[in-house]
Amino acid sequence: MNVLLDHFADFREGFVGTVLLTLASGLLAMVLGVVIAGFRVSPVPPLRAFGTAWVTLFRNTPLTLLFLIAWFVVPVIFAPGMSPWTKALLALSFYTSAFVCEAVRSGITTVPLGQAEAARSLGMTFSQTLRLIVLPQATRTVVAPLSSIFIALTKNSAIAGAFSVTELFGWQKTLSDQGYAIAWIFLWVALGYLVITFSISGLFQLLERRLGVAR
């Protein structure tokens, strides 16, 4: 009768799968996003063009399509033999990196002009200005949108369930195909996601408070 207790091992596996996939693709998306944001404000035109193309491409494509590309196009063109997990990681983090990039870029624009000007007049180079002055200050304004982005990422990882990755959503699908009452499965899976998303927003609120200084 109780779906959760009967299949707790599977549920835990799915939960852990979702958490791991979210963490890994979140990290990769952060790195990619910041780098691409750097590209988008850099003085070198082809880098800027690359950044713009990246964001346009990944923000306007449905994530499911990116999964299809990771499964059926990328192995043919680039690297054959990636595991389903790697494919999911790539699709999720490329998609999310476009959003991270835009968040970081708008964060950069909120840093007062004088800061960058002062850095420039001290003789800092572009990368020094960005690294030492602008990005650390942009972090503060970027934290809130990043929280939403990572929550979205958690939920987006559900799509990986249809592409051979063990995660929470796959659990609900398998069980409801076995004929368990949908309401209970729905409840447990929703709770699982709520736990993850609330932890993320809690974590980011903490971060925001630590970083928040009077300006």
Binding site: V41, P43, V44, P45, P46, L47, A49, F50, T56, L57, R59, N60, T61, P62, L63, T64, L65, L68, I69, F72, V73, V76, I77, F78, T96, F99, E102, A103, S106, I108, T109, V111, L113, A116, E117, R120, F126, T129, V134, A144, P145, S148, I149, I151, A152, T154, K155, N156, A158, I159, G161, F169, Q172, K173, I182, F186, A190, Y193, L194, F198
Partner: protein, 295 residues
């Protein structure tokens, strides 16, 4: 704008260096592109026979029907989510505690649960009670998808609108009350018009998300554009291979075109809004990231 401050007008040395980077960067990009084309060609993906499938009437009809279905779902879900968003936003700002709690709970719940689950659960729900729900009829999959999208995007739109309402200067509300306007008059004639105006670009960005998310219909095998494309890619065989690459490229281009058309509408509205000077600033269309990324 600060990007121009991040670096000085380059001097002779920097100009040389930038030019070097430009050349190197362009070369790298060109090399990447060339590599992709080379690999596609090496794997016979550029064979004219494969691309010839798009000359087939059946394939074109499938794509056209897919686009129309996607747009149909988008139109219904987009319109309904705006209405729901409006109701939820007003509900969340209501002075009646039960209403406020209900709206808050609804928004928080549907924003936290993956849309896939919402759609799937609604679909099963509709199938289970389809005899009692006269409207649903045979289209349980359509309504499952539309209502799922509406619940999620409506919750997000509500938060956008709430932010817009909160951005209206307090003085205006106080002035309105001082003039003797009622609560609903303040909301409908003063707060909402200004909130909608200032938040329109963000709302349209969220509509782009709605458009993209129609592709989640695959979970209940609803034949929108992406699902139709997958079926086509599976069932057509050219040279003993499925034309996945070709179909994915074409369908991807269609999605990007549709989304860009919507986003450019947002940019256009933003630019128009900036010209007219009123108390409330129109939010920038570019960084709606807070809500844009949320699914």
């Amino acid at each position: 704008m600060s990007s121009s401050v991040l670096y000085d007008t380059p001097g002779p040395k920097a100009r040389l260096r930038n030019r070097l980077y430009t050349v190197a960067g362009s070369l790298a990009l060109a090399a990447l592109l060339a590599f992709v084309v080379y690999r596609l060609d090496a794997k016979n993906q550029l064979d004219p026979k494969i691309w010839n499938i798009f000359n087939n009437a059946g394939v074109r009809t499938n794509i056209r029907d897919g686009v129309l279905t996607t747009l149909k779902v988008f139109a219904a879900a987009g319109a309904l989510s705006l209405v729901l968003g409006l109701l939820l936003a007003v509900g969340r700002l209501s002075e009646h505690r039960p209403v406020r709690w209900f709206a808050t709970g609804f928004i928080e719940l549907f924003r936290a649960v993956p849309l896939l689950i919402t759609i799937y659960a609604l679909w099963v729900l509709f199938l289970s009670y389809k005899d009692d729900l006269g409207v649903v009829g045979d289209n349980a999959a359509f309504w499952g998808l539309v209502v799922g999208l509406t619940f999620y995007n409506g919750s997000v739109q509500a938060e956008v609108l709430r932010a817009g309402i909160n951005a209206v200067p307090r003085g205006q509300v106080e002035a309105a009350y001082a003039l003797g306007l009622r609560k609903y008059q303040v909301m409908t004639t003063l707060l909402l018009p200004q909130a909608v105006r200032s938040m329109l670009p963000t709302m349209i960005s969220q509509l782009v998300v709605t458009l993209k998310d129609t592709s989640l219909g695959y979970v209940i095998t609803y034949t929108e554009l992406l699902f139709a494309a997958r079926t086509m890619a599976s069932n057509i065989i050219v040279n003993g291979d499925n034309p996945f690459t070709a179909v994915v490229i074409v369908v991807g281009a269609i999605y990007i075109a549709m989304c860009l058309a919507l986003s450019s509408l947002a940019t256009w509205i933003e630019r128009r809004g900036r010209r007219a000077k009123t108390g409330v600033a129109v939010a920038a269309a570019e960084p709606p990231v807070v809500l844009d990324g949320a699914r």
